[in-house]
Symmetry: C2
Subunit: 399 residues, 2 copies
Amino acid sequence: MLPVNADRFLADLHTLRSFGAAGVGKGVVRPAYSDADIAAREWLVGRMGEAGLSVHVDPVGSVFGLAEGASLLMGSHSDSQPEGGWLDGALGVIAALEVARASVEAEGPPVSVVSFQDEEGRFGVTTGSAVWSGNLSLEKADGLTDRDGVSFAEARAVMPGRLDGFVDPARFTGFLEMHIEQGPVLDREGEAIGVVDAIVGIRDMKITLEGEQNHAGTTPMQGRRDAFQALSRFNALIAERFANVVTPSTVWTIGHVTLHPNASSIVPGKVTFSMQWRDGDADRLGRMEAIIREAAEEVAVSGGFDLRFGPMLGLEPVEMDARLRGALEQAAETDVPGRWRKMPSGALHDATNVSKLMPVAMLFVPSIGGISHAFGEDTAEADLVTGLRVLASAVEALG
Amino acid sequence: MLPVNADRFLADLHTLRSFGAAGVGKGVVRPAYSDADIAAREWLVGRMGEAGLSVHVDPVGSVFGLAEGASLLMGSHSDSQPEGGWLDGALGVIAALEVARASVEAEGPPVSVVSFQDEEGRFGVTTGSAVWSGNLSLEKADGLTDRDGVSFAEARAVMPGRLDGFVDPARFTGFLEMHIEQGPVLDREGEAIGVVDAIVGIRDMKITLEGEQNHAGTTPMQGRRDAFQALSRFNALIAERFANVVTPSTVWTIGHVTLHPNASSIVPGKVTFSMQWRDGDADRLGRMEAIIREAAEEVAVSGGFDLRFGPMLGLEPVEMDARLRGALEQAAETDVPGRWRKMPSGALHDATNVSKLMPVAMLFVPSIGGISHAFGEDTAEADLVTGLRVLASAVEALG
């Protein structure tokens, strides 16, 4: 294993946390291009230089610390949610920095480091890596605005030290991203490491059922075309039919519901709701879509509702690269035998975009209580260090 | 039967419709104290005087046409919803006017007429009759405001001809109110008359279930405490348990739903929803309440949700007076044998308030397609005239 220094790693992690420290638990307030985010990135530029890496801040403010020649790229993002956890992407950036630094010191394999900009989506979704990978043009990105109407173009202009060009992805042999799980599985099972097999695909669409708005006193139950009741039937129907199709990792959510007119004395005539489902297998996503469409049709036809499906957002699942993933699995089995698992990532990550450019793989450490995107997010120190060691072992093995 | 004049009745009904005529179907725009409402009430004052009644406009603008001595009171309200039907309460006012007029002409039993103010609730709920009955103090009513912030005190001040005192209810022997059904039952069954047996009681409360807000990608289905799923289970559970308790006239409605945070990528952590149920029998309302509270508790305990019940609005059912109702039933059976039914009123009416002061009964005529509180509301002319005749027969029989 590369001789990584756990104390130095933890010290850097706590220093990064001091930028935008929330004063509530260990949380941070460090959204993309905020003063705290920019200060953190400037500090990172310094640390990369001290580690012997050559710094390149790209046009959107993603910070690269480059090794000479062909290298493995490692990292994640150091921006946070408006009320974020201290680890999240920051963990992956500092772990990458320590591995790269140790590799320079030990004359190990060349490792480059990156902190992508705006992963948390103040503007788009994983904006920095999306632009770098070509999934989103810089022109389109520049037109995106945050909640206050500030454009991405305006925001990125304040980031100092940016260069004109993007880093050529051809110089990298692959990408490894360490991240907190953001879910409860590893913590609940007492496991130390999750090796990601796939970043799940997402399907998301709005569905509208329109029946008949009526007086809640004078309209008998039998003649009603109550949109809330239709939604409730649909919800029960898909749960029943999904049972034969899903795995324990599959998830689906009705997270948004708008009833019309949404008054206690009126039988609701219309409902629009979100239907989102995620799975690592594209075929399964398709089978679930068929069930959703059929169930909605059945509810609509049997109850006399008009049915409209909104446009469907489709993000395909991303398989992790077998060689990179195999190195992580081997390292986990050596370091924490029986205390790691293969698992899908239910959340998007920068690795989703980077997979367009090169082989990628991901490593998870436990999130205590599954808490994420909140000041209460944390991971046991021992688990942070285990993650670092597994990463270092895998890098050495990959050569 | 008193010699009512169907042509004169229909002509008056159409004249009243001309005040605030919407230009869309037969609908009217005549909310309480609008120019159209005030003009309609001034016309009504004139027609009452021509019919030999003594006019009394009370402090809130309810218009009474009084017969001498003890009399039966008949009527409803001539204000409309912001987008209202042409009949609704106007039908009951004009039918009462025609019966009173015919009774004066034929020297029949003394009949007084009323058009209550603001039944449709620009300010409160059945405001005019609520103040008259003492269910709502004038002082409290004056503090009510409409959507634009206008107070009831300001609004009633513009109504001309108001007197200082309220009409003494002791002069009336009972109250008969004719109204459109506002529901689909009579129209669907091809019946001409509904004799109301009770105005249903209403229970209405907000229920809150609070689980855990989570990432919709990283939180497995099994560990979720999804507030929408809890609501959906509760909805199915009460429907199942109500089956043994309810009658075909019982209704219940979940008309308002607020999910938090109501975003497609977040497992909803909290839901607040309205639970409203109506029935003519107070015991049944109580049994339904027990089912609701038990079902909510079960869902909360089994799924790990915090449960909060908001304050419950309770309006008790109002039984119609046996003697008045018997006269209406007898008249209906004579006029349209086999084409009438006893039925509850699922909506509130002025008669609810007036029942505090004297015996009350109500008569319904069909609403085509069950449409109410909309420009499309209508009733076949033959059914309007049947309603008038049944009313006139009952008044004569009551003496």
